[in-house]
Amino acid sequence: MHMQTQTRPKVLSVLVLEDRIDAASAIQFKERMRDLTQAATSRVVLDLGRVQFLDSSGLGAIVAVRKLLAPDRVLELCALTPTVEKVFRLTRMDTIFTIHPTHAAAVAHASGG
């Protein structure tokens, strides 16, 4: 599971460099996120711009990461592709997560907040 991080004051960005988070990779994703966010202090922005497909296992893993970071740190999402957006909308998880249209918008929002 390839991921890339970028650290700014108060925000850690994680870019997923895979085209899917599915049943075959959900556990790896969760474990990588646990490792990568250990040093995070407040906000974590997960950039899903390269992810073309997410199933319910992948969604469950993202929710698990949100739980892992709570209550001191918050997980926000950005750059959802159409299929991924559809999964969030149909499961109403779009009402639980803060979702930004782009990474730039997410960073601007995070640094202002």
């Binding site: 899917r20 599915d22 049943a23 075959a24 497909f53 199933d55 319910s56 296992s57 969604l59 469950g60 893993a61 929710v63 698990a64 949100r66 739980k67 709570a70 159409p82 299929t83 559809k86 999964v87 149909l90 499961t91 109403r92």
Partner: protein, 145 residues
Amino acid sequence: MPPVAEAPVSDRVLHLSFAADPLSVREGLARIMASPGLADLDPGHRASIELVLAEVLNNVTEHAYGAAGATDRIGITLRHVPAGLSCQVVDSGRPMPQGRLPRGALPQAEFPEGGFGWHLIRTLTRDLSYARYDGQNHLGFTIPA
């Protein structure tokens, strides 16, 4: 194990059989999505097809079979019909609990890590049917165009 027994019965029907484990499911799904009849469908319909099939196939792998054995296989037949894509999925795993399909209510927990699958299947399909005979589960549904 790579998918085998791929048989394009006609250009309207696709049959595949593959091992019931997450990587084989991923590979089988990639084959299905790249097959001639499906590659040209509109992106929204393709998204629904890939999502529903992933959920159904993952359910068979995780729940009907559980810990995968070497002989656990899933058969899937796809047929283009006027209403969309008609799908039949057959496995030899355990029957559905109480012989019925889950309702698919959305989970109410604060951090739900599961329980989304059947909600997605029920939302994106029509004419969902389930039967158990000859020691096999037979799941049928249509994914509307």
